[in-house]
Amino acid sequence: MKISLNWIKEFVDLPADLSITQLASDLTMRTVEVEGYEDLGASLDNIVVARVEVIQPHPQADRLRVAKVDCGEAELSQVVCGGSNLYEGQLVVLAKPGSFVKWHGEGEPVEIKASKLRGVDSAGMICASAEIGMEELFPAKEEAEIVDLQGYDAYPGQPISALLGRNDIIIEVDNKSITNRPDLWGQYGIARELAAIYDLPLKPLPVFQEILPSGINVEIENADRCARYAALSIEGIQNEQSPVWMRERLASLDVRPVNLMVDITNYVMLCVGEPTHAFDATHVDGGIVVRQAKQGEKLTLLNDEVLELRESDLLIADKTKALALAGVMGGKLDSVLDDTRDVILEVANFDAIGTRRTATHFGLRTESSSRFEKALDTQRVDQALGLTVALLKELMPEARLTGFTDLVLKPTAAGSVEVEKQYLEKRLGTELKVEEVKALLGRLGFDVTYKEGVFSCLVPSWRATGDVSLPADILEEIARIRGYESFAFTPPVVALGKALNQPQIQMTQHIAQLLSQRLGMQEVFTYPWVEERYLEAAGIEKESLLKLATPPSPEQAHLRPSLVPGLIEAVQLNQHHFESFKIFEQGVVFFDLHNQAQHLAFALAGEDAEKLLFEAKGALQAIPRLAMSEAFDFVQEEAPSWAEHGLWLNVKNKQGVFGGLGVLSSKAKRAAGIKRLAVVMAEINLDALHALPSRDNAFKSLPVYPLVAKDLSVILEDKVSWAQVEKLVGPMVRDIAYITEFRGGQVPEGKRSLSFRVWLGSDAGTMTAVEIDKRMVAITRRLEKELGGVVPTTK
């Protein structure tokens, strides 16, 4: 919202030495964030009135003309102008060299310099309204139209700022931070707030005290939707253009001047925050009815749009037809035109929620609806009436007030809040004096009495509809007006409890560290919504997945039930930049509305799928020890939908399978557009992997006599697994470790040579060569006998 400093000063005498920076800072700290301010006068420096004396064609350009203008100096100035409505004798706006204008009405202002335009000297620029930020005051019918000051009491050389009274500072505040403060949606409300901040008196608004015969008949069907409706009959208006000062003030707050009657209603709204509405009296048949619409009832708006209404929409109607959408927008029939003579002025109070619903439904967020939806007090109607009548008397003396009807069905009650002094002191962390509290709240319009440790606070009506109803609200008022910075920090005193232990959180943390720091994987974040293409690549059925009602894009509607599709996409994206890489993600996946899980997934991309597969297995294998989780087994039970046939494993604990790893299938890679890289993926459900509260391994004594390491190679049928060899040999030795496998060469087709290392030892003493040989022979025999192995003798 924009605030006019000049307007504020009409209601409160701000200290002479108060700078605009200080005011902006005080308002920001205590009430509402000031987003910026603009000195309108300064932006018009060196922009003056000029009279066009002579016009000549431009020798080089058909669209341009050369004007000799009088700008109050001894000699005429020559200016090149492209204005479509230029004529001799015209009073125009001249931006002299050194002034700043917005080029074509857009962007930051640029400096005007004396220059040549297509070869002709030009000492400045004749301005269009957008170039000097006056679109509201001088609406242009086409882009090339320049401002025509016909009708203004202007003379050549007169500064434009002086002509228009444009010497104001316009302050812009953040709307979002006053959605709970209906009282601040007007210049008078901001003035009242500043008066409270600086502890200064606030000047009253004109009071409505006309004695009038009762006016047009008004009926309100539902007091919950319309708490008050006042109708003022005004006859014999002369609807001309408003005076310059009013047009200028409206325009500087972004409201386009229309005609005097409409301008007065807008002026009143900007000032007190109460939207009012003028109906042409000749269009109102038999009286005003405030009623809910009939389902399907039609209303034609000013812009010829036809609304089909619902029962929940509130209408202003007469005995026969709908006139306006209450609190939102007028209809085509009721518009006040230049030839309107008699009007009925509506000053009413409509409820916040209903107004908002209607405005939102029809996409009609107007100045009016945006104020009613903040919840206004019924007392504000009086302020609007008072100000309107004062303006009418001043600006339209010929108009006659002929009747007044005021239905007040639900006046806003002054709320009352009781607060204990002790409560305030504890929560504010400081002692308070009764008089201080009374004074602080008094500045804000609260009426406060104190008895036996309790403040009784009568809330002013302009705050009662918004945000003040609880002791905490009173506390906030005291703290912010006194200044939040005036309360000293005291460190909180807390009791020491049991030390926290959150093993599951620790475990996920450790896993991330393990994968990134030890195994060289890079963590990535992907979105919870996944593109269909990658779901399909991962072989995931879409039908049962959760979907977003309004997704980021139509193909990103599904919520992920697995991290794999997102990682496939990440691999696809990174394949263009890297020959090999390893990535992982820890994130939430979704199964249904009530089931989500924390998953871990990683993808290893490179040249050799086999090598990557065992790297992936190794990474999972490392988790129990390094991340302090329970142990788990590798099995082959449920093939992941994205894995190559046979090249996959599951991880399984006592509760069952909770994840898997495998080579990403060629089919999946093709669907995802992954070209040359081999990819191995793994995914586990972290919620199913139980963290250990502490480590579970125990110390083993060091061997008394040194162990002897021996390597052994055995040729076995392909179908004999390493696990079988390990199971057979393991119990015969102190330790055993896989080394490598080998196919081809001397090894017959269908077989492979498995190499491994065993450690032998004895508790009786250092083993002799003979003892070692005996043991190795025993191992060889068993491999031959039980697994059909052949141990080559050449060595």
Partner: protein
């Protein structure tokens, strides 16, 4: 026999002189000091001598042994010293690369903050990412149809978007709803942080994302004064910037706090003098905060006249952007390793 000793001493001296490298040194050592070496031979000969010659001969032989041992050790050290310098290496070649892999920069920031809050005795909380209108709005004092609901455009779950309250589901638009759930579950007093991803249905640009990381911290204590809430703010900023940061609390409106604050920090670019980064005010808006609204405490089953506290919520993505000078928030979810690898 003593002449023999003298000859041997001379011979040893000659052999020592002949040493030019480690190889010849090893040979001399072997010739003289091994089990079958010349010194051993000399010592073995002692019992065959006349009794009166044994002692002087023994002394002489041991002198030779000591002389050889000392000179050979000294020579060996000398030769080892000079041997290394023969190797020609390009020492500008980089060392082995151990640095592959890393954590997401936002996660690193989160972990830093977690660590700080853990040391203050805060618990770490994880809530569900799918929540309901009731939990995300109703419980938090967002009145139905209140305009404030609109500031958080929410991703509703298809099939529930026309329903209301606890039957209308969404991806959480903020974390605060689940904080109430935590309080319901654990009661008061409470001290916890709640880091997590939240989602808003917005159009994206370098400053706006649909998925972003928030960090929430909440204390609920008896009669907690709002000024003590600074503890939370200072803990975060000092951890992020590595030094104490000046902050201010100013009036702000959020439905779930009362009083509510916008918390600003001193602009670190200009030190408060005013610059383009802080739009010439010397302060940068960094997070909202405030005292949990009485209605929020009530929703959590706590008596607002008894319990009070402080709440803050900070956008981690923005902090990370400030820390590293990142100019596009969308990079965080890009999974682009060229970006992520810069933070390992």
């Amino acid at each position: 026999m003593l002449e023999k000793l003298e000859t041997m001493r001379q011979e040893a001296e000659n052999d020592l002189q002949s040493i030019t490298d480690l190889q010849t040194l090893q040979k001399v050592k072997h010739d003289w000091l091994s089990k079958a070496g010349k010194v051993t031979e000399l010592l073995k000969a002692i019992p065959t001598l006349e009794p009166e010659q044994r002692r002087p001969f023994g002394i002489g032989a041991n002198e030779i042994k000591t002389m050889l041992t000392e000179r050979l050790n000294a020579l060996e050290e000398q030769l080892l010293d000079s041997a290394g310098s023969d190797l020609k290496l390009d020492l500008t070649i980089p060392g082995f690369d151990f640095t592959r892999g890393g954590l997401h920069p936002t996660r690193q920031m989160r972990d830093d903050l977690n660590q700080a809050f853990l040391s203050l005795g805060f618990e770490i909380y994880n809530g569900a990412q799918i929540t309901t209108e009731q939990s995300a709005f109703d419980n938090l004092n967002f009145k139905p149809d209140h305009p404030a609901r609109e500031t958080m455009d929410t991703y509703w779950i298809a099939g529930t978007e026309q329903k209301s309250a606890k039957e209308r589901y969404c991806l959480r638009p903020h974390l605060t709803g689940a904080s109430v759930d935590y309080l319901k579950e654990h009661g008061a007093p409470a001290r916890f942080v709640y880091p997590g991803m939240v989602y808003r249905n917005e159009s994206t640009d370098p400053g706006h994302e649909r998925a972003f990381y928030q960090y929430e911290a909440l204390i609920v204590e008896k009669d907690f004064s709002f000024a003590s809430g600074r503890l939370l703010i200072d803990t975060i900023l000092e951890r992020v910037f590595g030094k104490p940061i000046e902050t201010r609390m100013r009036a702000g409106f959020f439905p779930f706090v009362e009083p509510g604050f916008e918390i600003d920090m001193r602009c670190q670019v200009c030190g408060g003098k005013g610059c383009g980064v802080c739009k010439y005010v010397g302060w940068i808006e960094i997070m909202p905060g405030g005292v949990p609204h009485p209605n929020v405490l009530l929703a959590a089953g706590l008596d607002p006249m008894e319990w009070s506290g402080f709440y803050i919520n900070i956008g981690l993505d923005r902090l990370v952007m400030m820390r590293y000078g990142i100019d596009d928030v969308r990079l965080f979810h890009s999974a682009d390793l060229r970006f992520l690898e810069q933070f390992k």
